[in-house]
Amino acid sequence: MGIRELFKRKKIEGVDDTQYLTLREENRISRENNKIIREFEKNKTRKNVPEAEYLTTMRDTSNVVEFEDLHTYFFTDVGTVKAVNGVSFDIPQGKIVGVVGESGCGKSVTSLSLMKLVQAPQGQIVGGSIRYQAKDGKCYEVTKVPQNEMNKIRGKDIAMIFQEPMTSLNPVFKIGEQMDEVILLHEKGSTAESARARTKELMNQVGIAMVDKIYNSYPHELSGGMRQRVMIAMALLCNPRLIVADEPTTALDVTIQAQILELLRNVKDKINGSIMLITHDLGVIAETVDYVVVMYAGRIIEKGTVREIFHNPKHPYTIGLMMSKPSNKIQGNRLFSIKGQVPNPINMPDHCYFYNRCDKCIDICSKDYPEMIQFSSTHFASCHLYNESSLRDEENIDEENAKE
């Protein structure tokens, strides 16, 4: 009956039946990965790590954060998910950098790697470097910073705002208490009164009316937009150098979205800090950010200033994204969507990840992964189409084909 259906091996078009992961294979993968995880976790528990180990220098001191060849993997029982697979970009001081991409492209994991909040023990930063220049002038190599030092940076130097305001606040503590906590933790010499004053000051700044009432309320008594304002206020309490906002407006409705984005822009100016804005919404990017980083399947496929990306997108994926946004400028019967799906993150191919979805691919696209091509001092894209040598090869091939 229906029960037997559950146990039958399903035959799916185009999938080779023998590619099932057998139990033995799975156990082998699981054992290997667990060993790797144990190594990483052991390292984490080292005590009294000397400062020299995690201090370094920035490549360019006008940057707040520099990501260089970051690799963050998840060691699961069915394989290794390469969530972030060689990501490099900078966040300059006083600017807003937008990270764009589909669900699952690794943008959230990148930000979590910066905060060292990646879901342990499966998630680990495997390689690369994240350099952060702190307020006191020290430059930290985040990948090597021990847990207790990281706690001093989190919330104080780098603050994070999450996507779901409805569940991001602890339901059993009052708003004021949760905010005072941050000040009392990070600011030396703060008292209950000074913390309360600062909290209320910031609640005012983010546009919360009836500050006293909200201060004494519980999270479930506030609306989504209000809670997100609280989260932003909480992020600002210690004057952070960088605010990471992970899809801050996705869970809110459009009118509130506009308000929150406006708030973020003002905030950045006021504190003279930087913002790393993660989103999948191009409209948000266009209005708010200075630089854009486009990610796909764990890698950056294009980056540049917002003008460059919007007016002159190079990578076919970026172009596709631009076209996906419904707009009344393009005439047509159907809404555009990029065909195909993101590749399985466990078994990534050696060639360009976008290969099977791109309709401008050439011969070489199925063989090698394209390098980053530079178009200007800020504009980079990783696509064979713009590689001079491969273009020449393509011309040669075309000529040969024409001759035959």
């Binding site: 559950l6 039958k8 091996r9 185009g14 799975e26 076209m323 195909g340 099977n356 309709d359």
Partner: protein, 349 residues
């Protein structure tokens, strides 16, 4: 900047499933997750052992040695006997008089190569009785759980299907039965059955199973009803215009695969509970009747109110029975927990 839209609107619409996706059917997925957990596998081994011990064991014993469940073995052995008597001496004080002598004892034989766990106070072979006790316990527990699920599905189904006052009525009945104190009621019912002479000892077990079922069916009913209500919400919300029959048909189609996991987990965990109930009743002499073997009644030999002799000096009579109860209940617990984790799609591993 923009390429001509034409090249983008002419493409093949079908979503191409990536070749490197490995797909697996839900049943196999659950089985794989189950076997990954060491505790689940351990539980499975324990239960298989107990089953083999209880069902295949008696057959082997019968074939090789011919021992039966209630066969009496008279093994003569000489044992010490101490008699005491008090008397008052000429000086008015009480003295105790000890006399050590030897006597011949027929039962309570120690461990030997013929009787691996010795014999008990009535001369039965303990090892054999462990097997028969296991057999009856397992049979009782499976029948009871089956009945509980049967009743639960019917009542829960009726409540979910008809809703409104039927649902209210049945749910109140469920609440009432759930508020009954389980063990005391069970005890009084069993005690009454035991005292009624017209009911032969053999039939007592059937009444027993009925009573235990009465105490436990509420869990299954709640699960089934809850599932139906949830499906109703989903279906009725999705369907704009449907006839009542069509919607209910769809609900029933989804009912089995959705309720089964919860029911199976609840049943497996319930098996352990029934075994504990049955062994408690047997311990008090209200369960499986003498001279049939039952783990509970074997432990009852060590009741300190009947004298400390068995409790202190003859652990071979009662400790193995207790260990077997623990292994069985624990095995069911491990399997139940393992199944629960295996069915849950949100598990990290």
């Amino acid at each position: 900047m923009l390429q001509t839209e034409q090249s983008y609107t002419d493409f093949n619409d079908e979503a191409v499933l990536e070749q490197n996706f490995r797909v697996i059917s839900p049943g196999r997925m659950v089985a794989k997750r189950f076997f990954k957990s060491k505790l689940s596998v351990a539980g499975l081994i324990m239960i298989i052992f107990v089953f083999a011990f209880s069902f295949i064991g008696p057959m082997i014993i019968d074939a090789t040695w011919g021992y039966k469940e209630t066969q009496v073995f008279r093994i003569e052995r000489v044992s010490d006997m101490v008699t005491t008597a008090d008397f008052t001496g000429p000086d008015g004080k009480t003295y105790t008089y000890f006399d050590k002598s030897k006597t011949v004892v027929l039962f309570k034989a120690p461990i030997s190569s013929e009787h691996w766990l010795g014999t008990d106070t009535s001369g039965f072979d303990i090892f054999t009785r462990l097997m028969y006790g296991g057999r009856i316990s397992l049979i009782i527990s499976f029948i009871v759980i089956f009945l509980e699920i049967f009743i639960g599905v019917i009542l829960g189904g009726l409540a979910g299907y008809f809703g409104k006052w039927v649902d209210q009525l049945i749910m109140r009945i469920v609440d009432i039965f759930a508020s009954l104190p389980g063990l005391p009621i069970l005890l009084i019912l069993s005690a009454t059955i035991s005292s009624i002479e017209s009911i032969p000892a053999e039939h007592r077990i059937y009444y027993l199973m009925a009573f235990i079922t009465l105490m436990g069916w509420t869990g299954a009913a709640r699960i089934v009803r809850g599932q139906i209500l949830m499906l109703r919400e989903q279906e009725f919300m999705m369907a704009a215009e449907t006839t009542g029959i069509k919607t209910m048909h769809k609900i029933f189609r989804h009912l089995v695969p959705n309720t089964m996991p919860q029911l199976i987990v609840s049943a497996t965990l319930g098996l352990g509970g029934v075994i504990l109930y049955e062994s408690t009743l047997s311990y008090l002499g209200l369960g499986v009747p003498f001279p049939r073997a039952a783990w509970g009644s074997m432990i009852a030999l060590a009741d300190p109110s009947k004298g400390q002799e068995i409790l202190a000096s003859y652990p071979n009579m009662w400790v193995p029975a207790g260990i077997l109860i623990v292994i069985t209940v624990l095995g069911f617990s491990f399997i139940g927990d393992g199944l629960r984790d295996a069915f849950d799609p949100r598990m990290k591993r």
